[in-house]
Symmetry: C2
Subunit: 502 residues, 2 copies
């Protein structure tokens, strides 16, 4: 069969599998937004039968033989064909090289692990959780081995979330970042302005939910989220799911923390803009799916931080904000607002962290994961190692493990290698930002006029429309003309926070 014909037969099979995946995603969305409390078991059964169906579609032997044929004559494929085949191979191997029994056991272990973690966290009892972590590490190593990467298990875990990423690359990037960021953070924290930022944030109280809803809808619509192809709802933990013409974000409202729902929504809208910008006709293939979690996170962070925490953004939106909350904002100056928007305060808890310190939480987790996989660190020594790293990086030591190693859910079901994406996303966002500032010096004036179209257009063309044709590192190199480096992130933080605090 001609290579073009094989590709033409392959693509619908990939799309079919992807489509089944989108149904699973909808079940997941519905579970967090709508599910009646008593329906959890029924939903689990629906998830299971759908997962089984999707697995059958993904491991369809016809995909295997088409891939073998396509890979036998790589020279006859163009760049897009090559990318499609490469990504399909990756999915196919994941679907076929893991024995069904292993997949089943791992799913059971994941579910057990989650509950063991929840109990251990509630009771501040790391010892009860340690055997779960040991087991999860063992499963991760076995999984890597089944895929032929047993010797580089942590690389395999990183690659799961970000195709092509390696521990060595992350190590280098994070090492450099740590070196420059810790002193900057320390200087900011020592500044008298930090205290004022806290005080101002504390004064933002009693913002009615309904008006918050109106404001964040206007903001997300203005930056370009297309509500004809998406929606926003409320859930306990904010997230963004779906793709193509049906992208669903969630948020949560707190009357006394009005900036939370706003920045959370802009963050999710950043994810949503990426999904809405993927080439719909190629959904399910490397041309139509996102490039990995780091690039995804770069899109959410760029809109949340570089854009929505900027002075020019607020120059446009502040009047409307005051109009919606006249009583709550009386006596608050524009400088106060800008300070509240950019408050910095080291905390022990990652999910509460600001834009500056957040990265150090990730560096900490990466260092733990790396050492756990290399064997340099034993699970039982994790709490102690965590405390030491926390002191070194954040200047804070957790009083207990609930505020330390037990705070995150990720490892409980074996999701190692995910954390680095968050920080890499920040780096990528900063590097893209540096690039657009050069390309369009008047960008912040656009924002001040409420015009975000140029930025979105540029991201659409250079990032969204690329799908997964390139790895994160390669995409950054192509778009910005240089290798990914933390220096742009540090420079951006220095500029914004240095100017404000130092």
């Amino acid at each position: 069969m001609a290579q073009a014909d094989s590709l033409e037969e392959l693509v619908p099979l990939l799309k079919r599998s992807h489509l089944l995946g989108t149904i699973g995603e909808l079940l997941g969305w519905d579970e967090q937004v709508n599910l009646p409390p008593g329906a959890a078991e029924q939903r689990a059964a629906q998830h299971a039968v759908l997962a089984e169906t999707q697995h059958a579609a993904t491991s369809d032997a016809r995909i295997g033989s088409l891939l073998a044929g396509l890979e036998a004559r790589p020279a006859e494929l163009d760049a897009d064909g090559t990318a499609i085949v490469k990504n399909a191979r990756r999915d196919y191997d994941r679907a076929t090289k893991l024995p069904a029994e292993f997949v089943r056991e791992k799913a059971v272990q994941g579910s057990r692990g989650y509950h063991a973690w929840a109990r251990a966290k509630a009771a501040d009892d790391f010892a009860s959780y340690a055997p779960v972590l040991e087991k999860n590490l063992e499963f991760a190593r076995r999984e890597a081995a089944y895929l032929g990467r047993g010797d580089v298990a942590y690389d395999y875990m990183l690659d799961k979330h970000d195709p092509g990423l390696t521990a060595a690359a992350v190590d280098r990037l994070f090492g450099e970042l740590k070196r420059d960021l810790v002193p900057l953070m320390n200087a900011i924290v020592a500044s008298p302005v930090a205290e004022r930022a806290r005080a101002v944030s504390g004064r933002l109280r009693g913002f009615p939910v309904e008006a918050q809803r109106v404001f964040l809808r206007e903001v997300t619509e203005r930056i370009g989220f297309d509500y004809m192809r998406g929606r926003i709802d409320v859930s306990l933990h904010p997230f963004c799911s779906g793709t193509g013409s049906d992208v669903r974000m969630t948020t949560r409202y707190k009357e006394d923390q009005p900036l939370d729902a706003l920045f959370g929504s802009v963050h999710e809208a950043g994810h949503g803009l990426y999904e809405q910008g993927l080439p719909a006709e190629w959904l399910g293939t490397a041309r139509g799916i996102h490039a990995g979690m780091a690039v995804h996170e770069s899109q959410s962070r760029l809109w949340e931080n570089q854009v929505a925490r900027s002075r020019s953004f607020w120059r446009h939106f502040e009047p409307r904000w005051r109009e919606l909350f006249p009583a709550q904002t009386a006596g608050l100056t524009s400088d106060d607002l800008y300070l509240a928007v950019n408050a910095v305060e080291p905390t022990l808890i990652r999910v509460d962290a600001d834009e500056v310190t957040y990265n150090l939480h990730i560096v900490l987790r990466f260092e733990m994961e790396k050492k756990l996989f290399s064997g340099e660190l034993a699970v039982r020594d994790l709490p102690l190692a965590w405390r030491a790293a926390s002191r070194e990086l954040l200047g804070l030591e957790p009083a207990n493990d609930r505020e330390g190693v037990l705070q995150d859910v990720h490892w409980s079901d074996g999701a190692f290698g995910y954390f680095p994406s968050y920080c890499l996303g920040n780096m990528i966002a900063a590097q893209l930002w540096a690039r657009v500032r050069v390309l369009r010096p008047g960008l912040v004036e656009d924002f001040a006029r409420g015009d975000f179209a140029w930025l979105l257009g540029w991201l659409r063309e250079n990032v969204h429309a690329q799908g997964r044709r390139f790895s994160a590192l390669e995409l950054v190199r192509r778009v910005t003309g240089e290798e990914l480096s933390p220096r742009h992130l540090v420079a951006y933080l220095q500029e914004r926070y240095g100017g404000l605090y130092l």
Copy 2:
């Protein structure tokens, strides 16, 4: 293989297919409640891939061979086993005896038919719709023939919605009903009270949606709908979907028709109570699915009409209703309210019809369907026949086909044989009602105290818990001790409306 072992292997296969069906139902619910306008195409693709998957599960050859084995030695099965096998055979034959090409063609025709109907209705142009109806009739006949019932195609269509039902049985029941109901309706319409009922209904205006929502939530919860295993949302057309622990109803609110959302919700809650009362451990088999559309409709109608339009029901709920709507109900007497709740007025439009006249709309449609299938009536003569029947049954003649034969969507995608369920449901509800009044003479006093537990308990045990073990007619016979007859419906209408109007 022992029969018990075969059954044990069969049941999980049936459940798997059913579970895939529940996912499809959720997609359908979401489509009407949540779907972003631009996502229709993506949703259609999801429906298609899921339908294909479910079809593969339902037509699994292993089901066929298990059924053949079980049917070969029927004496070794108990009553439940027999019911499970019978129903599974019905589903299996439907899934396997229709050629894939026919199914595809019919789906395309159904979709085309819907759009042709919508256009024809808008333009009041029956002639453009006639060829679609001809084609739909042809598809129905072919479908019946594939299932070996080409000689009784209309029986086959009825049986699709209500296992075991025949045109002869419906004909007898509807003939009797028509004979007794038309005079009753005429007498009511001629009563001076009818005018007063209209006037009172017209005075119910400006009921805020939020308070309506509170009230109907309280009502549906009080009659027993379990919100831990279900929810209610808003959609353009009210419906109830889902089963087991996840039952989802919808409603719609109109400030000037406050009884619409209420009775609509109680109606859907009646469907929901039935689904919540099916034996969850048997979902997907004859022991765990509803007995057909007529019995389903009997549950919604019984709660909506016999219960929620009764004086004793309002004796309990009226104070709360007045409390929620003090300004809107000032000057309205309890008798006024009761009259508005039971207003009767013949209309040309089925979906606007009251409890008395509704049945005659169904008799009309049944007579048309019966004659279309027998060949007694040609499609081109349908508008004329409809007008004549409308005059005879309702005393009203449509001025155009939009208010006549073009008003309903059902036939546009070939759903013949569905209409009778609505009226049969009313008959069954009335017959069950007559039975419970004998068994529990103090039932209406229960209602006046806001206590609906006895009634729900009785329905749970006698109807819901029975699943599809019996056909509708057999179930009625078992539960009420007599054959289904319209006399209970007529007697009930005579008692309630005769007392009020005559």
